[in-house]
Symmetry: C2
Subunit: 227 residues, 2 copies
DNA sequence: CCTTTCGGTGAACAACTGTTCACAGCGTAC
DNA sequence: GTACGCTGTGAACAGTTGTTCACCGAAAGG
C-alpha cells in the first residue's frame, strides 16, 4: 500500500484509461439529445469533469472520439448479432428470437443505438462512412446465414444479399421505432416488436415463390448490389 | 415605369419574398454538407448575401426556418407520391413506376431528400417530429391505395398498415442508397433501382399467402401500429 | 407631397468555441 | 532519493455565435 486508498488504487495507465472512458461516456450521454456535429469539445470535458485542454491527452480531435464511439457502439451491436445467430432452426424461431434480442439490446444500450441511428446520415462524413461499412458487413453475414435455410440453399448470392438487405432494413426500422417509443412504455414496445415480427413473416412468405416469379436469369448481374 | 429596371421590377412584398427564398435556398445548399443543428444563422445570412440581423425580418428563429424547409421538401415529396399513385394497375406496373419516379425525383431534388434523411434522426426534436408525422401520413395513404388491389381488398387495416410500412421502409432505404451513390454515376443508380424493384417484388410475392399462414385472428389488435 | 411603414445596415454585447502555452504534481524508473 | 515523464491545470488567444439597438433609404399610402 504505497499511499493508495481503495477507491484510488490505480496505476497511471489505469487512471488514464478511466478518464478516457469518462470522456466517452460523457459524450455518449450528451449525444442522446443532440447530434455529434453540434457537440463541442468543451461540453464533453465539462461533463467529464476535466479541463478542456486535457482532452488532447486522449484524443487528437473530436472526430477521433466519434470514431471510437462508433467502434464501441458496434461492439455491442455485434454481440447482439452473435446472440441472434445462435440457433438458426426455422424461420419462425429465427424471427421470434431475433426480434426479441433486438428489443432487449435496444432497451439495454439505447444510447449506442440512438447514436448510430442519428449519425448514419449525420453531418460528419467520416462517421457516416464508418457506420455504413458496418451495416453492409452485417447484411453480408446475414446473407451467409440465410444460405443455410430451406428454399434458400440454391439462391444466387445476389438474391440472398437483396433478401438480407430487406430484413436488415426492417430491423433498422424497428430499432428506430423502438428508440422513438416513450422510454418506459412496455405496451408501445410490445406493439413495435409485434409489428416487426409480422413484417418479417410477410417477407419470408414470399421466399418459396421467388424463383418461379423472379427475374429471368438473363437479368442476373455478377456483382452484388447491396442494400 | 417609376424607376424600375426589368431586373429590379418589384413591389416591396415581392422583394421580401425573394430574400426570404434566398435564405431558404442558401440554407438548403449548406445543408448538403452539414446537419441542421450545426448550421448557424450567420452562415445562412452570409450565403444569402444579407446581414445577420436582417434574418429576423423573415423568421423568428433558425428552427422556424427549418420547419419551413421541411414543409418545402415534403411538398416536392407529395408531388412525387401523387405522380406515383396515378395508375394503380398491376403490382408489376406499380413497382416499376414507383421506383422509376422515386429515382427521378431523388435525382432532381436531391437536396430536399438529403435534408429529410439527415434530420429524420437529427438532433433537433421539432424537425424529427415534423418529418415523422409526414412519413406516417404517407404510409397511411399507401395503405388505402393498397386496399384496392387484388388479394388485399379483404385485409384488415392493421395488416395493410404493416405492409405499407414495409414498402415505405424499402423506398426510404432506396432513396438513401441513391443519395449515397456518387452524384453522376448512372450505373450505380440503375443498380440501386434494380435492387429496389426486386426487393419490392419479393414483398409482394408473400401477399397471396398471408392469410393462410398469418397470425390467427385472436392476435389481432384494434389500434393500428404504424411505423 | 408629405408621412408612415418596413427591409436592410452596422456597431456592439456577452457568451461560447478550438487550440496554444507554460506550469504544477504525482507516479515511475533509475 | 533523485530525475524524468505524463496527466491534468489555468490563463490567454483569436474567432464565431445569437441577439439588441438606433439608424438609413426607399417603397407605399394618404
Amino acid at each position: 500500500m504505497h499511499g493508495r486508498t481503495p477507491e484510488n488504487d490505480a496505476t497511471r495507465q489505469e487512471r488514464k484509461r478511466r478518464t478516457r472512458q469518462a470522456l466517452l461516456d460523457a459524450a455518449l450521454e450528451l449525444l442522446e439529445e443532440q447530434s455529434f456535429s453540434s457537440l463541442s469539445l468543451r461540453q464533453v470535458t465539462r461533463a467529464a469533469g476535466i479541463v478542456p485542454t486535457a482532452f488532447y491527452r486522449h484524443f487528437d480531435d473530436m472526430q477521433e472520439l466519434g470514431l471510437v464511439l462508433i467502434d464501441e457502439s458496434f461492439r455491442t451491436l455485434r454481440a447482439m448479432i452473435r446472440a441472434a445467430r445462435a440457433d438458426p432452426r426455422t424461420y419462425e424461431h429465427m424471427i421470434h428470437n431475433s426480434v426479441e434480442i433486438l428489443v432487449g439490446y435496444v432497451h439495454e444500450h439505447d444510447a449506442h443505438f440512438r447514436f448510430i441511428a442519428r449519425e448514419r446520415f449525420g453531418g460528419v462524413a467520416a462517421l457516416r462512412h464508418a457506420i455504413r461499412a458496418e451495416i453492409r458487413l452485417f447484411a453480408g453475414d446475414l446473407a451467409t446465414d440465410l444460405a443455410r435455410l430451406p428454399h434458400l440453399d440454391r439462391w444466387s448470392s445476389e438474391d440472398l444479399q437483396l433478401l438480407a438487405g430487406l430484413m436488415v432494413n426492417t430491423m433498422v426500422g424497428t430499432a428506430e421505432a423502438l428508440l422513438d417509443a416513450p422510454a418506459g412504455d412496455p405496451a408501445a414496445e410490445a406493439e413495435v416488436s409485434a409489428a416487426a415480427r409480422r413484417q418479417l413473416r410477410m417477407i419470408t412468405l414470399g421466399v418459396p415463390q421467388w424463383h418461379s416469379a423472379g427475374a429471368p436469369p438473363s437479368q442476373r448481374r455478377v456483382r452484388a448490389s447491396g442494400r
